[in-house]
């Protein structure tokens, strides 16, 4: 006959006493495990939501990318056709073209049956010193759009600068106090300011646009241009090679580049969309964390309260058990049981109550969490939570039963035996 056998026999004899204590342990562990499971489920769901949102964002970005392509296709690309010997590194560094090509190229291109190219704008530009004002300017000669011979007439998207007229960049207009209708002298010729542009934040702000023929005369480049701007080309970004091949077939002496601003605009739009999507995900995560904090605060009040109530109840259950077993304790003492043996008798029972309560409470808590959140996953079975629940259950039942057990151990056997 061992203490364990004695304990188990006693439990089987007084089931109601043990079960009522066990319920208290189970409930408290259940509340603890349930709270932690709900929080865990919340975290898992947050992860799922974030993953899902990120996936949605990626999908939306893909759609957006496609939309941009379509928009760009409808709007067309802006292409710049430059002389073949123009060093692109110089062009990207200075934004000014230094090589030249015949202005007949524009006419040849317009006469060619290239369906992807529309709205051709030949120009001649050069960075020069404006002798009358002693300012560095970019003088641009333009003749307006060269009409296509094989396409229906479309409204030109840029109107040519009339002869003896000039369009002034914003910085020049502002610093020189120029306005529409003013007369200026450029390289000894008189021009009327037909327009002052808004600020563009580029070399355009120090540029002056005049008629192409007049520019060719001023710059001493008769019949020469150095760029053809092709606006609203009907092609997608990834078809640039096709355009280049078509242009090269007609004009072998040129090179075709996509005008940078459009590319940047598209990238910027994409970045903004991505940023907004990221902010939406972050806001969602923030809301989820706020909700989690509220749940955690609630648990922080509920769990200790339930533990306290359960502890009191277990204490009462054990006290009743001690009272009921006075005679048994008395005879065990008479038979030679030490105080520690009596203490063990009750603490072993409390330990059993704690272990069974931990298992039952943990299972119940996880189940309750799953039912509440309507979601089950194996990752909910966390060793950490299980160990915490087990320790809590065992400590709770041992602590709550300690005083009654101590009272039993200190009981005077003579008093009990004399009473009987």
């Amino acid at each position: 006959m061992t203490i364990w056998q004695l304990v188990i026999k006693e439990i089987l004899r007084r089931k109601a006493n043990f079960v009522s204590g066990l319920i208290a342990v189970t409930v408290s562990v259940g509340v603890l495990a349930g709270s932690m499971t709900i929080l865990r489920l919340h975290d898992l769901r947050t992860e799922q939501i974030v993953t899902q949102k990120e996936q949605e964002t990626r999908q939306r970005m893909a759609v957006l990318e496609d939309d941009y392509r379509k928009i760009m296709k409808n709007l067309g690309f802006n292409l710049l056709i430059l002389p073949k010997d123009q060093k692109l590194s110089d062009f990207y560094a200075d934004e000014v073209v230094s090589a030249f090509m015949p202005d007949s190229y524009a006419t040849r291109l317009a006469a060619a049956k290239i369906v992807t190219i529309r709205h051709l704008l030949p120009s001649l530009e050069e960075k020069v010193k404006w002798p009358e004002k002693k300012r560095t300017i970019v003088l641009i000669g333009t003749r307006g759009e060269v009409p296509s011979l094989f396409r229906d007439a479309r409204e030109p998207i840029l109107v040519a600068v009339p002869k003896d007229h000039a369009v002034i960049g914003s910085e020049l207009a502002e610093s020189l106090g120029l306005k529409q209708g003013d007369r200026i002298t450029l390289f000894g010729r008189k021009f009327t300011v037909s327009q002052c542009n808004e600020e563009r934040g580029s070399k355009d702000d120090i540029s002056i646009w005049i008629d192409l023929a007049q520019a060719q005369e001023i710059l001493a480049k008769p019949g020469q241009i150095n760029a053809i701007l092709a606006l609203k080309c009907i092609c997608e970004g990834n078809e640039l090679a096709l355009v280049r091949r078509d242009v090269a077939a007609v004009l072998p002496g040129v090179q075709v580049i996509e005008e940078g601003t459009k590319v940047l605009t598209r990238a910027e739009a994409r970045d903004r969309a991505a940023k907004e999507a990221g902010e939406a995900v972050a806001a969602e995560v923030h809301n989820r964390w706020q909700l989690r904090d509220e749940q955690e605060e609630f648990s922080a009040i509920l769990v200790p309260l339930v533990l306290l109530m359960s502890g009191l109840w277990i204490g009462l259950v054990f006290y009743a058990n001690v009272r009921e077993r006075r005679s048994e304790i008395g005879i065990l003492r008479a038979l030679g049981a030490r105080s520690w043996t009596i203490l063990r008798l009750f603490l072993t029972k409390a330990l059993l109550m704690g272990v069974i309560g931990a298992l039952a409470g943990y299972a119940l808590g996880v189940l309750a969490g799953i039912i509440r959140e309507q979601e089950a996953t194996l990752s909910l079975l966390e060793l950490r939570v299980f160990l915490l629940a087990s320790c809590t259950a065992i400590i709770l039942s041992l602590a709550a039963s300690w005083l009654p057990a101590y009272y039993a151990a200190q009981q005077d056997p003579a008093e009990v035996l004399r009473e009987e």
Partner: protein
């Protein structure tokens, strides 16, 4: 074997007064001796028995069993000594209700948290005519069977002394004689018995009788 020297015990009463439960008493029970302590209710018989068993500290006096002064021992030493040297039997049996007869006989094992005395337990059960009741609980036993179970339990560790408190009080004559027969057998084997009883006839079966009258003793030689 059992020696009580000038043992006095009082209990507290109201208004800081004390009531004398046991006036100075000298008592000796030798090895192989059966001593009956007889007296009316309230004469201090049970108090004397509990003091002799190391369960109740006297106000003064000495209690020696097997030469050991019980109340000079620590609580744990006394518990161990009690388990090895003294067997208790009570009128109310004090059997553990949820244990079987065999388990009750083996209960001192649990109290001592040691040993495997299954064989000894079965032998005792057989010796006390309980072999057919091994798996029965106290609730299923007759009064005589209960007292025999209690006696078998007291003898598990072969103590040198049996302290018996009114053990025939709930038994009919036949069962009382059976139980007393076992005690005499134990005494013949060299054990010492101190039997507390109010029953003159039962006391008459002992080797010697001590009479207690409100804490005062008088001895009658048999």
């Amino acid at each position: 074997m059992v020696l009580l020297e000038r043992v006095v015990k009082t209990y507290p009463k109201a208004d800081n007064l004390r009531v004398t439960a046991l006036a100075p008493i000298d008592l000796t029970v030798g090895p192989g001796e059966f001593l009956a302590l007889q007296g009316p209710s309230g004469s201090g018989k049970t108090t004397c028995l509990l003091i002799a068993g190391g369960l109740l500290r006297p106000d003064s006096g000495k209690v020696l069993i097997d030469g050991q002064d019980l109340y000079r021992m620590t609580r744990n030493e006394l518990a161990t000594f009690r388990a090895r040297t003294i067997g208790f039997v009570f009128q109310q049996y004090h059997l553990i209700p949820y244990l079987t007869v065999l388990e009750n006989i083996l209960a001192p094992e649990a109290a001592q948290a040691k040993g495997n005395n299954q064989r000894r337990g079965r032998e005792l059960a057989e010796q006390f005519g309980l072999a057919h009741r091994l798996e029965h609980t106290p609730g299923e036993l007759s009064a005589g069977e209960k007292q025999r179970t209690a006696l078998a339990r007291a003898l598990l560790f072969e103590p040198k002394v049996i302290l018996a408190d009114e053990i025939t009080g709930n038994l009919d004559d036949e069962n009382a004689q059976i139980v007393l027969g076992y005690l005499r057998e134990y005494v013949r084997a060299g054990g010492s018995v101190l039997l507390v009883t109010h029953d003159r006839e039962i006391a008459g079966q002992a080797d010697r009788v001590h009479h207690l009258a409100q804490g005062k003793e008088s001895e009658v030689a048999q």
